[in-house]
Symmetry: C2
Subunit: 209 residues, 2 copies
Amino acid sequence: MSTPNDNNGISTESRIIDAAKSLFIEKGYAETSMSDIAARAEINRPALHYYFRTKDKMFHAVIGDIVSAIVPRVYELLMQRGLPIADRIEGVIDAYFTLFKQNPRLPMFILREMNRDAGMLIDTITRLHLKEKLETVILSIENEMESGKLNRIPVRFLFFNFYGMLLTPFLAQDLVCTALLEDGETFDQMLANWKPCIMQQMLNLLQPR
Amino acid sequence: MSTPNDNNGISTESRIIDAAKSLFIEKGYAETSMSDIAARAEINRPALHYYFRTKDKMFHAVIGDIVSAIVPRVYELLMQRGLPIADRIEGVIDAYFTLFKQNPRLPMFILREMNRDAGMLIDTITRLHLKEKLETVILSIENEMESGKLNRIPVRFLFFNFYGMLLTPFLAQDLVCTALLEDGETFDQMLANWKPCIMQQMLNLLQPR
DNA sequence: GTCTATAACCTGATAGAC
DNA sequence: GTCTATCAGGTTATAGAC
């Protein structure tokens, strides 16, 4: 028993999603055409419309794929309550760095499409039933603040700090590589030096004095 | 003596640039059509092509307008060498906040178009002869680090920290307003609370211990 | 399930009248 | 300088044969 329409053991549908994902991430929704996707999936344009009737449905399939790969992973890493906060943060940074090194334009993609369609991210999270996981994380952090294990600071400011520092090098990657690296330094080497700086700043905010 | 082709005392050309600027910032290069610009400037599409022969030239006029309004201003604020570093940073934050409150989508616009056209920002800075100003700022900061007035830290990490914290609330403004504000809190009130957090983190990095 | 053919539309851009 | 008319090309999407 095999998946419908096999081609080298990979179903046509997942081949299309992979093609669409890489193109949307690379060029964005507006500058990716259904023809581009069909070409990369090695399929004809009308056949593409058979699988995903509109460009919009195609996009939502892709964004669902991405979000469901990130949110549960971050949830697990942050909720390992035995570990000290520094280790949990380091785990999350490592996970994001691994993901973004493989997909350098993923941060820009998510931001761009969030700005094109305001409800996009929240709608997707709701659709995939991941809202509860996020709320659990927030409550858990706030509990540790109440109990004095963490310093009190509004959670949204934690987010701004963390995601600001995490995403900025990737969002400005082209600029970084052409103008902000030291002689002979690679982007990955820079990231390795940047990581302890993120951790230091987060601990400044979180560790009780 | 009046500007050519007056219409309510505003030259057609500057009316076109204003229309194009607001549309590009709002929707981005790809999703803005020359028809959109012509409509907002209250002019016909062919007449628009008369003033700016291609969409690309239109875009470069707009981006030049924006960059030349930001870079010299930041330069002046940062180079007031009599002032302590905290006051200079506060001045820059205030200037950016004022600008971004008037144009909430400007940060997203610059990032998006930097990712569409890697050399865009550097080319514009070079074209407007603003490169020297930026290099002067960097050298000045590095000098204060050498002399021990500031803590030693790679300038690119200062950039990541500062622009990460400065831009993140605006880049995610829709998400912030729908999910991250406290009850009854406005975006501007949140920003006012966020500012001291930016300053604290910058001083953590810069002030010698 | 996948194709050919085509519809209906929008895009950036130009030529040429006024 | 600003218009009308028009072009060539690309877009999403559908109808219908196989």
